[in-house]
Symmetry: C5
Amino acid sequence: MPVRHFVKYTFLQVDPAWRRLDDDQRNADKQEFMAACDDFAEGHLLRSFSLVGTRGDADLLLMTQAQNLDRIHEFHVVLTQSGLMKWCRIPYSYLAMTKPSEYSEESRLEVRPGHSKYLFVYPFVKTRAWYALDGDERWRIMQEHIKVGREFPSVDLDTSYSFGLDDQEFVVAFETDNPGDFLDLVQRLRTTESSSFTLRDTPTFTCIACSVERALGALDGAAMTLAGS
Amino acid sequence: MPVRHFVKYTFLQVDPAWRRLDDDQRNADKQEFMAACDDFAEGHLLRSFSLVGTRGDADLLLMTQAQNLDRIHEFHVVLTQSGLMKWCRIPYSYLAMTKPSEYSEESRLEVRPGHSKYLFVYPFVKTRAWYALDGDERWRIMQEHIKVGREFPSVDLDTSYSFGLDDQEFVVAFETDNPGDFLDLVQRLRTTESSSFTLRDTPTFTCIACSVERALGALDGAAMTLAGS
Amino acid sequence: MPVRHFVKYTFLQVDPAWRRLDDDQRNADKQEFMAACDDFAEGHLLRSFSLVGTRGDADLLLMTQAQNLDRIHEFHVVLTQSGLMKWCRIPYSYLAMTKPSEYSEESRLEVRPGHSKYLFVYPFVKTRAWYALDGDERWRIMQEHIKVGREFPSVDLDTSYSFGLDDQEFVVAFETDNPGDFLDLVQRLRTTESSSFTLRDTPTFTCIACSVERALGALDGAAMTLAGS
Amino acid sequence: MPVRHFVKYTFLQVDPAWRRLDDDQRNADKQEFMAACDDFAEGHLLRSFSLVGTRGDADLLLMTQAQNLDRIHEFHVVLTQSGLMKWCRIPYSYLAMTKPSEYSEESRLEVRPGHSKYLFVYPFVKTRAWYALDGDERWRIMQEHIKVGREFPSVDLDTSYSFGLDDQEFVVAFETDNPGDFLDLVQRLRTTESSSFTLRDTPTFTCIACSVERALGALDGAAMTLAGS
Amino acid sequence: MPVRHFVKYTFLQVDPAWRRLDDDQRNADKQEFMAACDDFAEGHLLRSFSLVGTRGDADLLLMTQAQNLDRIHEFHVVLTQSGLMKWCRIPYSYLAMTKPSEYSEESRLEVRPGHSKYLFVYPFVKTRAWYALDGDERWRIMQEHIKVGREFPSVDLDTSYSFGLDDQEFVVAFETDNPGDFLDLVQRLRTTESSSFTLRDTPTFTCIACSVERALGALDGAAMTLAGS
């Protein structure tokens, strides 16, 4: 039987002072961080992204998934042992769970493994006026929203739920290889009825899918070398 | 006779630079912090939680309770003597008091000792439109709210009051072993009438119940060893 | 003839790094700070409070009063010479003046010397809708507000005025030995008509009255010793 | 022919760590800063103010004026060479231009040289509802505003314009020797019709007029001595 | 066939501590930064601006353009290798794409190479009420807006689109040699109907066009010398 999963978005930003350390130290710091990710990824979904060049307030995103929240906690505890986390802040952090959608049969209880070049993520809060509508009305409005989405088949969507767990109601994640298509979709959705019930949909993160190794290399422009080599 | 108590939520975040100190120093810093907690816990309720992996802006929560506010002040003064507080900020802090509820006979004058795996806390402010309703109307609306809550028996609630003492009106704390149930309850409550009178219910903290020792260990991924051993 | 006074609320927060200095240095830093306070207090009202344990973003409050703003400026210049101010920020600062109230004959042109255990302070801004009411209407509404206040005789009030001098319109300061009474009063006031004209009444500070010496001791949990002894 | 001028308000805050440097270093840092101001002041208006004791988030204000924006840029480049700017942030910065007023013949194309003890400055934004009124209606409302201002002859006003240049629409600067008069004027203006069209008028800075030398001395409570003496 | 381009606005602010380094170190740090810019500029548009003297929260703006987002990412990765980025934050960052306008035939699929002395940039978000208008109504309102713009021929406009890519909907960039004209245009636009549909148009940056070399020199008031010379 499919079960609900916890999904965690952890955005990291490195202190510029870390870039002043010598190459060997930075390489070792990254190796320890990558080892923690590799361990977690053996039994769980872990995806990594770089935000270098797309945001100024975050450098790297780890998206992790587990059935038990304690696994996500333990992974982050192990991360704190790595040299890199002695120089990082977590400027944004979103905790969510998967859940069947009320409005669509396409929703999933696990987030999709990576398959696109770019991920677009934002925390989402609806107005209370939305929740005051009756269920049929909400269903009708969402069908228009879903229909517009289907006009952009190059864009995929994963929604997870944060009610009571974190500051937002949803974490919305779109994926595509064509950012221009996604931009056009979002602009097109502004004129749908559902759009008027949006209270907050920022910050909006453009994330470049890549391996943990490459995402770490983007922090200081230095390719990683094997420890001890 | 039961008396009202002060309840204090103190969220700590450690400077990443602390993780660069050597193991012995960090162990000593944690020992001093734990000793202060142990002393206070002899005569008062003290509960500890880890937020590593659930938030980016807080690492550890101490919830303390006392009949006299000066005891809570003195406990925090003693904390400042510990090595750990030479490297910590308090990014969030909520001061409240217990008080009988106008709407429910289940309210308490002491917060509950820990009994669940997870605690969900948020500061809560209602709109002024709520307070402009007459008392009977508020009572009717709250009964619907309470009725929905009872449909989720795995979730317990402790509300404390902050009017005039701090920036929020209430501090709301839910406990459960099943975060998914709590998420469903909060989403369900969005469609009740009372929900439209919420002005602010963030930040929302997901807190993992654990001993002070374990919460401290989660700060740097290092288990504590006995001082001098 | 009574004259109007300037009232200044200066909230300090010490850098955690200061707690890493050795005992003698910290003691000297506090002595210099206390000497500046003692000098000012010879000719002016100066009251001190600790916020350790009640807030996370401020540690100590100095409330000072003078007929001439330059005296308050000069006092803060002297403070910058003290060792402590080499490690402190001023996260909150409120400048105000006394003024006779339009609504009550009990207002004063000097703030009260300390007489209660706790002080509750917040900056206050009313909605512009309030000021669009005619004067009689405002007077009627304030009488209800004042009447509710009189039901809580254990709570005293000092209001000062900041229009044009600082970001708020008023600085409101309540005093009492019984925080529970004050909490009940503020909750009770929410249902008065005047409450609907509140635009902002946060942050709200719970402040523990104590000598400068004790407030300084609470910063690092170390009692002060005489300089040179 | 009178021409429009650029007006720049640059608020500085010194890092508390600067106060830990030895006296000679701090004196030299201030000398370099003062020399840059003296050079600019030879051909342009430059006024200086201290905010020590009136604000917690800014210590010193420089108000500068030039016909060409490049002169203001170059002055700030020279400032960065001074020792003091190695330890300062600019927490607030307002760029504006002079412009004839639509509503008053008293407006000027140059800001006034200093003549009062105190300056009160705030960035100002009107609601869009204001701009939707027709011009006659705006004129009528402003006449009431101006009439109230004239009841306080001890208070002078300089308004400059920031549309498109900075985050605010206007920078409003009042001057007086009597802060109490100004406070009374601002409170009185709250009840005028124009007041309901204010969107933002904070932060509001109380600034004490003084020479650059005195404003620098207020940063660390040390009077400057001549370089080399 | 013309294709859409990515446009990136990267605002940098240097840590004041960098100014404490010796001249040779700062010169080398700037040389590395300039070399990265020169490399990128060989195949792409790169424009540089100084904000010293116009803002307090940003010192330098790089505007870059590429058909492929990965090129912009890679450029920023190379920047992190430069000495300067070991001491810089990116306080503001805007990612956008070009797109034909619905309302004007003058829009472009590439941003204009620099030709004016000053650039005025702001992120722009419209109200949801705007998007609820039907298309003809939006077209009519925009024609008035465009007509007013044409009354100021000394001011040019480049609009790019950020829907879904970043926190704003548009990045609006005006260019002119005459800031006073631009100020008058923006003030004039306040009274148009389109203005009432603005939700956010701040922060607004006044940027001084100059070479990378001059923009770097403005950071510490030191002209660059050739590496090794």
